[in-house]
């Protein structure tokens, strides 16, 4: 799927549905991406998505799941920095799904 239509605007995506241009991202796009992943965004989801965007801003990479889990634990507390919590929010993988919603590329080191 090369393009998606959100609120009357067209956005370029890659063959796996990830946003091609980071700068295209906005909350409408995020909600659309979430919908395609069967996820209803809550404050908890946004917290992770925003964390990912900040991480990318700082390091220019989307972190691997293991790294994301550890980093979230450091920043948001141990009750959130674990797989159960993150997979509870993003059942098909916090790396894959949350990155897509955050408008980031697929995580480096995602295997």
């Amino acid at each position: 799927m090369p393009n998606i239509e959100v609120a009357g605007k067209s956005y370029e995506t890659d063959e796996e549905g990830y946003l091609v241009n980071l700068s295209d991202w906005n909350t409408d796009v995020a909600n659309y991406m979430a919908q395609t992943e069967n996820i209803t965004m809550t404050d908890q989801h946004w917290e992770v998505v925003n964390f990912l965007r900040e991480y990318f801003e700082e390091y220019q990479i989307a972190p691997a799941v293991r790294v994301l889990t550890k980093a979230i634990g450091k920043k948001l507390g141990a009750e959130k920095g674990n797989s159960e919590y993150l997979y509870g929010l993003f059942p098909y993988g916090p790396g894959k799904q949350a990155c897509k919603i955050a408008g980031l590329p697929k995580p480096t080191g995602c295997i």
Binding site: E58, Y59, I61, A64, V67, G109
Partner: protein, 121 residues
């Protein structure tokens, strides 16, 4: 970790002029998932990869140097810079974006000898 192998990534190319530096970094990040004993060695022009203050807007290329600062999150903490290469380029330890261990060329050779796997870039 008992069956962990010693992996060394040998980086000898400057960033941006060729794709080697970026390719190496990506392989390093992927390899980190396998919990091995990883070292990064920066020799020759490879030391330029770690230079602080890279601004790539003008060449319309992604600045990937901030990712070296994320290596710590990936539990990759062994970064070695060859002293002779650093000196020949008018650089000092303060010029690098991350903390490194500076080794002489002879020490680097020894460390290379101790590895199970060496990946060259």
């Amino acid at each position: 970790m008992s069956d962990a192998k010693k992996f060394m990534f040998v980086n000898r190319k400057a960033p941006y002029g060729t794709i080697y530096a970026l390719e190496s970094l990506e392989v390093v990040l992927i390899t980190a998932a396998f919990d091995q004993d990883v070292s990064l060695a920066f020799l020759d022009d490879g030391v330029y990869q770690l230079k602080k203050g890279q601004q790539t807007k003008g060449i319309e290329t992604k600045n990937f140097s901030p990712a070296y600062r994320a290596l710590e999150d990936y539990d990759i903490e062994k970064l070695y810079v060859e002293k002779e290469a650093m000196d020949a380029r008018g650089l000092s330890e303060d010029d690098f974006i991350v903390p490194v261990t500076v080794l002489s060329r002879a020490e680097m050779g020894k460390l290379m000898d101790e590895q199970d796997v060496v990946l060259s870039f």
